[in-house]
Amino acid sequence: MRYAFYQIGTSAIATDAFARTIGIDAVALPSPNLDTISRGVSLSPEFSCFPFKVLLGLLMQGIDRGANVFVVPVSRSVSSCQLADFGMAQKHILTRTGHDVDIILLDTIRPDRVLESFRKYKTDVTLMHVSEGLVIAAQKLLLLEGVEDGYRDIYLSVRKQKAEAFRLRWMREIDGTDSILDLHALGRRMDEDRGRYPKADVGSLLRIAVIGDIYSINEKIINNNIFERLCDLNVYPENGIKLKMLFANGIHAAPEDLALSGKAREYLRHNIGGFALDTVKSAIRFAEKGFDGLLHIYPFSCMPEIVVRTILPGLGADYDIPILNLPIDEQTGDAGFTTRVEAFVDLIDVRRSRRRATPNRSAGNGKRGNGS
């Protein structure tokens, strides 16, 4: 049995560590390219969402590399979007096209269920292994978040090459460390390294939070490398839906988070699945932090995000923050995407300078503005 894990952005570093911990052989998938997309699109149903198509393409490339069991990291117990059905639908499609594959659902907050699914092929896995694997994977996702933040800060304050070097170095180190304690120490060393670079001048830069569907935000190839684009436009970008939420979705412990939930539920009363409620919460959080704009990126025909897209205009008016909705799919062109982002950045830049000129109407002070 050779396994391949679903891959979102840099998540392979975490899933590989999980595979090593429980002792299975994981096939490395490439990062999605044009070939991935065209292969996925050719076999997918027309209205399935874009991530479905790209992931199907990735699985086919995984088959080329010898994988026959696919692991779908999804917590079925908390998230009711299409993601929970992806695996089976993809299996049906692959079976129809003559590939003999199996799908395992990896319920990230239930180690017992994960154990159950892996026991099917590998009998000597224990709950200890699985729990350790999940902890290490979660730890790595947290560290990767630090790497991306560091990359952004260095990119803005120093220059691109330095940022690339920083990212490359720490990704390699995180990938090579497979113990909970060592990862802990690594995190501290990384913070020290990050502290050696000058801080980005956040006060003078425009700040934009990118919110929306987790896959589209965290997979650079799909979102036209939006974070770097924003940095190039002299914008301080913030990721609203981070990869670690694959683990923490549904667990809202922080008091700040509870208060946000209350506000978010005025717009969206229930957790309708996917990352819809998280997107609404992020939108409110960054509006209250005084960000200058929100970029809502989601795949065409993504049900939870379309609901959010319907709700956001009213929310934007209440919290006085401009929002740009960017649906993406295989038809999205690079130039059109960039033009819209550039125009949006220009608009909020003008808006901010106008507000600075009239100080009694300070931009996005977190209170309900003149919209409501």
Binding site: P45, F47, S80, D85, M88, L268, G273, P304, V307, T310
Partner: protein, 352 residues
Amino acid sequence: MGIPVPVLPKHPGLRPGRPETAQDRTIRIGIPRALFYYIYFPFWETFFTELGAEVVVSDPTTRKILEDGLNGSSNELCLPIKLLHGHIVNLKDRCDFVFLPYIISTQKGSYYCPKLIAAPDIAKAGIRGLSLMSADVDIENFYSSLYSSLKEVASKLTTNPVRIYAAYRKAMARQAVFEGYVQGGTLFNDALSRMRGKALAKNVAGARPARGGPVIAVIGHTYLFNDAYISFDLIGKLRKMGGRIVTSDTLSAGLVNKTLSTLESRTHWSLGNRVIGSAIHYSRRNDVDGIIYITPFGCSPDSLIKEYIDANLGRKKPMLLLTVDEHSGDAGVVTRLEAFFDMIARTAPRAG
């Protein structure tokens, strides 16, 4: 924000503690003729009528309603949700509250589509200041029960728990009668007429007719094929062309579950499971000649449900996938149906 609070002076009878009198104007509750109307209407109608309210239903879909729906909602939403918006516009000035429940799950382990769950939120975003009345229906959630959320809704009508409970029981009974009719092979509109004691039209298709034209199974979401306007009167057209109709509704829940249990896995969509279960059940039956699967443009659950169906079809028989949206034309549908009937005639010469 939140659910708008009713303006009290307009409804003196609403004030808690005040005895109800005959002079109080009855409260009008509007139910849009869309989405869950086609599944739970008898329940809500009975419940509200029993509590002394007047139930108003929006008009059957017309060009105007559809256009209102298209103009007022985001263009990425699917047709049934856009239509819901149109029906609310049609309704909102004729009633005190528009009733729109948050229906999350009505069976263990399966949910409704996110857009359906959030339908009241979408309505609120589309029409600001709408007087909306809502209940949470969530069987999956241990802490909420249908009765407790009903009590919340009913508090606008009465504070007497005995009356609420009696209305709830009666509504459950009516719903059971309705479901009995529908699952016994009566189509939605006929079932409603039957509940009102009206005589049925002659050409109603039974589930297992003895002889006649081909038996067509219409599969899809009940709120799509039962709406004559947006489905281009699919059912009426099929009847005119001599088809006898069974639908994904005219099948008992037990039979659907039995069919689903023979499959490797099911989806976690309530409506989707019924579509899959009925499609596969009909495909295995010898007395069904063809299957028409009607789906709204851009329905993401349906696109994956089609994969489940394709992977598990019993016998090969003609299957037509009919995607409809606001731009579809009547002529296109007729042509495809005619071709479909020709295909049935060619592929399955009936023995009897």
